[in-house]
């Protein structure tokens, strides 16, 4: 009894970190799916709620065929978070298939990415928060002379298909950009032939520090003949 109280108290006291808002490019064109031809009973199917972010992760990973890293950059969350969202999406869809449940796409902590426009008449920039309604005029000066300025995204494109991580050699400290889809362990250092590790992860930091220390110790020993 006492332990339960402590756990409850702790979970009340230490509130979790607030969720990061997930970015959704476009709302889905349908609001759900209904099963048909249930052989068991004639009652109405149970409902399962698929969140918007889960729909988006499924769209990016399975329809656009992006990997989790690229999808996470588009949704503006971390890679592990995206993997969790994606796993939940697949689990829910499997459940609805197995038990013949109805899927409703709804909810989730998301925002819809808005388009930006610039007006040539008054020089202002504005966005369109509601995708359903098309913008016909500048909201400030009512002129029809405006253009879409979402071309800025193209610059980021190269970045989303490339990982900014580095591989580092624990032996000699040689660094090179990480190749997408190839494990760092499979990379061979061109200078000393040792297999490389990912730079910056806490475990590897420790490893590299130990190696450096060892190397300098050996050097020191050689120099002074001890």
């Amino acid at each position: 009894m006492f332990i339960i109280f402590v756990v409850n108290y702790r979970s009340y006291y230490m509130s979790p970190r607030p969720l990061r808002l997930r970015k959704i490019s476009n709302p889905p064109i349908i609001s759900g799916f209904k099963p048909y031809g249930n052989k068991r009973a004639g009652k109405t199917p149970e409902i399962i709620f698929l969140k918007y972010e889960e729909y988006e992760s499924l769209r990016l990973c399975d329809h656009e065929m992006l990997n989790h890293h690229q999808a996470s950059l588009i949704m503006d969350v971390s890679r592990p978070t995206l993997t969790r969202i994606y796993a939940r999406a697949r689990q829910k869809i499997a459940e609805s298939f197995v038990f013949g449940k109805q899927i409703i796409i709804e909810g989730g902590k998301v925002y819809f990415d808005s388009e930006w426009f610039s007006c040539r008449a008054c020089g202002c920039f504005f966005n369109n928060p509601e995708k359903q309604n098309k913008i016909n005029e500048c909201p400030l000066c009512r002129s029809k002379d405006f253009e879409n300025c979402n071309d800025v995204m193209d610059e980021d494109d190269e970045f989303t298909f490339r990982c900014s991580d580095m591989c580092i050699c624990p032996e000699c400290g040689h660094e090179q950009p990480h190749n997408f889809g190839k494990p760092c362990m499979a990379e061979i250092c061109p200078e000393c032939g040792h297999s490389m590790v990912r730079k910056g992860t806490p475990h590897n930091k420790k490893l590299i520090k130990n190696k450096r220390y060892e190397n300098s110790y050996n050097k020191h020993r050689k120099q002074f003949g001890k």
Binding site: V110, F112, C124, N127, P129, P139, C141
Partner: protein, 105 residues
Amino acid sequence: MKIAITSTGNNLESKLDQRFGRCSFFVIYDTETGGMEYIPNPNKEAQEGAGPASVQVVASRDVKKIISGEFGIKIKSLLDSLKIQMIVLKEPEKSINEIIKMLNK
């Protein structure tokens, strides 16, 4: 429809404030009735989190558009989820009177 404009002072002649979170005053302009309201910004001297707190002040007045010089990185996703339109006007010399005239054109 209500529109919020960030202002440096509490009269019609004052200039547009180039910041959103730490502006001096919010002018809430009602396009249907032509009514105006000046709200002093409580987050002007805030150390951090001025943007989201200001969004709360403005959103509680049921505003649909915000005119300002610049919006911070925390605010964009917040305003997108609240479906409030952002209008960025990089003209610090424009007065509130001129902007309202543009809106009524």
